[in-house]
């Protein structure tokens, strides 16, 4: 697709060379080594989160190059959500696995209520109330997990990113 002619000129990506190198290294030097046994699905969700996050960052660079700076924020929000889940799977694998799966099942029931029938009956059978999970609760939980392990800077980063990229976008 041709960039719009009146697009503001985009500076060279040279200043983002370390970011591009990180994307390439994760793609070529990390992801091919991430293999898990079938009984370790939770840690593989973390690997999948990394794959998705890296792909989104790569797309952000491509959008900038192509002259679409006003679309990059969409991907940054998705990247942050992916990072939350990835870190959740790293820090509390079993808990993250249970909660994300029940939340996923809940989303399915919302997508096609005619097919699923009595949604409340399905929700009552789930081990964890999936409605407890939203980006605020996930962000808070990941921040708490960082804090419990003494990673104060990461906890502050988590809180700051939520305030900047999710809470602010609701205004």
């Amino acid at each position: 697709m041709t960039p719009p002619e009146d697009s503001d000129s985009v500076e060279s990506n040279e200043d983002l060379a370390p970011v591009a190198a990180l994307v390439d290294h994760v793609r070529l030097g990390v992801l091919p080594h991430l293999n898990s046994r079938r009984d370790l699905p939770a840690r593989h969700y973390a690997a999948a989160s990394l794959a998705r996050s890296n792909r989104l960052l790569s797309a952000m660079i491509e959008l900038r190059t192509a002259g679409f700076p006003d679309a990059i924020g969409l991907l940054l929000r998705s990247l942050l959500e992916c990072w939350y889940l990835g870190m959740y799977f790293v820090l509390a694998p079993d808990e993250a696995y249970e909660k994300t799966h029940t939340a996923h099942a809940h989303q399915l029931t919302r997508l096609d209520p005619a097919h699923w029938g009595d949604i409340q009956r399905i929700l009552d059978q789930m081990p964890v109330d999936p409605r407890q999970m939203n980006w605020k609760t996930v962000s808070d939980r990941v921040a708490t997990l960082f804090s419990e392990r003494g990673y104060t800077a990461m906890k502050e980063m988590t809180d700051s990113l939520y305030a900047t990229l999710i809470k602010a976008s609701r205004r």
Binding site: V30, M154, L165, R170
Partner: protein, 89 residues
């Protein structure tokens, strides 16, 4: 930096606003050319990559090197150098 199709996003496409007329910008006004948001995203991939490498027993030396170049591997705080240990405790 809203991701929604709300008023704030749409107003970004207003142009030449005068008391009598509006024009339309094809490209929404942005604070920069996108580099800032890419720099916000890079530490996310860097920290997650390091944590996953620790979990899988994969070397994260190159990630540490690139993270230092990006300027994200040691955010200001009281736990300098803490990131490589995420996932081990």
């Amino acid at each position: 930096m809203s991701v929604h199709g709300g008023a704030a996003v749409l107003i970004g496409h207003f142009d030449e606003v005068t008391p009598t007329r509006f024009a339309t910008r094809e490209i929404r006004l942005e604070p920069d050319d996108g580099a800032l948001r890419i720099r916000m995203g890079a530490p996310l991939v860097e920290t997650l990559a390091r944590a996953v490498c620790v979990q899988f027993g994969v070397s994260h030396r190159e990630i540490d090197r690139l993270g230092a170049l990006i300027g994200a591997s040691a955010p200001e705080g009281d736990h300098e150098g803490e990131h490589p240990q995420v996932g081990l405790t």
